[in-house]
Amino acid sequence: MSENLLEVKDLYVNYKIYEGILKVLNGVNLTVKKKEKVGLIGESGCGKTTTMKAIMRILPDNALIPNGNIFYKGRDILKMSDDEIQKIRRENISMIFQDPTAALNPVLTVGAQLMDVIKYSTDEELTKREIRELAIKALKDVALPDPERILKNYPIMLSGGMRQRICIAMALISAKELLIADEPGTNLDVTIQDQILRLIGRLVEERGISVILISHALGAVKGLVDKVYVMYAGDIVEMAPTEKLFSDPIHPYTQALFKTVPKLTGGGIPEAIKGRIPDYINPPKGCRFAPRCIHAMPICMKEKPPLKNIEDEREVACFLYE
């Protein structure tokens, strides 16, 4: 356990909205070891981003955390003072946001934003020139041509792929131990998305940091991560080493999810999972997947299946494996 860098334990997050309380996270558990590359997959709206925002402590004001812990090197992020979490954000963990266009401030130059990140990422007093040089290096690291010009540009002058690379450069500066990548490149075309994922994979490898890669595209994470968590409606339903998960998924949701992926061979339109993500105001009482599950048993409607270790490095939350 000592080498666990990040440990999310039984995390619940609710959102207070006009219509009531959205019970989004329903006891999430996940761990990231040092230098480990972790994937997190699931449909849109299943709580992946909420989990990550909880880790960074940047949830919106209407979010409540009724229960749970997020241990970073053994200390609970949720109980840290503002200064402590600020130091973690400055030096240890950082996040690449889903939409690079929204994540860059439209009225400040790339240089102003990037240099701010560099300036506050260390306690050392850097000179303006040193900061500038570090900024140019950061842009070169993410394979951006002509960094001098990009520093002077506003985000609107750059392409989507360039903005994505800039966001990666900014996040990497303050992610000296853990990088959270929230669906990087989703808004870009497939070739660029692939380049972006490879770039993240290479940079993470070079720097020896841990990464949580979020995606709803299964294939995207396959070659990049050591283990994968599968999330459904605020629950972690399955965790397995990447190879095992792809060759032998055991949770009914994971199995159904893989069937939705279009294949080059075989032809035909892939099957969609029947039904949709449940209403978070009145979620199903037992297993949240039960209403859509083809194997559902009476107990699934009453109790929530716990996430259990069934074999080495493999966990599942399903009564089929009790």
Partner: protein, 339 residues
Amino acid sequence: MVSYVAKRLFYSIFVLIGLSILIFTLTRIIPGDPARLALGPLAPEWAVERLREKLHLNDPLPVQYIIWLKNAIQGDLGESLVSKRPVVKDFLTYFPATLELVIFSTIIATILAILIGAVAGRYANSWFDNLARIFTYIGISVPGFVWAILLLFLFGYIWKVLPTMGQLSPGLPRPPVRTGMMSIDALLVGRWDVFIDHLKHMILPALCLSIGRIAQESRILRAGIIENLKKDYIAAAISYGIPERRIMLSYLLKPSMIPMVAVMGMDIAGSMGGSYIIETIFNWPGFGRYSLWAMLNKDLNATIASVMLMGMFFAIFNIIVDVIVAYLDPRIRVMERAT
């Protein structure tokens, strides 16, 4: 940026020509004979007729307008029927005092609007925000002259702490006129006492002109801040570990101020309009009071000229505001270059 301004200046010319036709026609078709009004009821008919001839009032309207326009382009806006001086000269006398008042009230309005709007937006629904909300509703709904009467009563009658009339306390010498703005003229001759005394005289009228603006502009800023606080770039900046103070000042305030600055151009022009009544109430010898007087006396040339001057300043302030907005928002600059 130069072509951006040039384009707007070019458009303003058309606006001003349109405005001049409108106001010219209006002043001539409303009932009442300006020549008779100028000379009084006892003047003989032949004198009135001579003045009418001199003012070209017997010519058809389009001819009158062309004559006016020709002179106006040469800088001759005619003679005031009331003061019997060239209108341009009158304006040079009265306008700086109004400009000074409007600038001073703009400074007050902008500082307070930013402070109130930023705090209310950042701490939305706090006690401060609720207080600001009440102030805003009152500020927007109560017209300036009501504030004027209220402030006169409070500061001129109950606590006699601020002067309520004119520009300077009796006994102090008027500084020699160089710019026409007394505060600057006082500084130019190094009279701090005159400067301070003059500022004190400006506080009440300037407040009356700015209360409505503070209310409106702070609301717009508050809305901008609340909206931008939800943006990903703020969450991103926090997650990079940038300190909150820095985020508030440069990441949040700058984009949030754009809509507020955009309405400021209108508001400044609105203050000039408000000065008509406020200057009359506070006995401020400015252009507003002069114009009101001109209109009430059907002083043709002075009325047209004062409306045109208002229109010109409206156009100029809006161009200035457009430039500031373009400075704040690079998206506009990029778009401008693309077209």
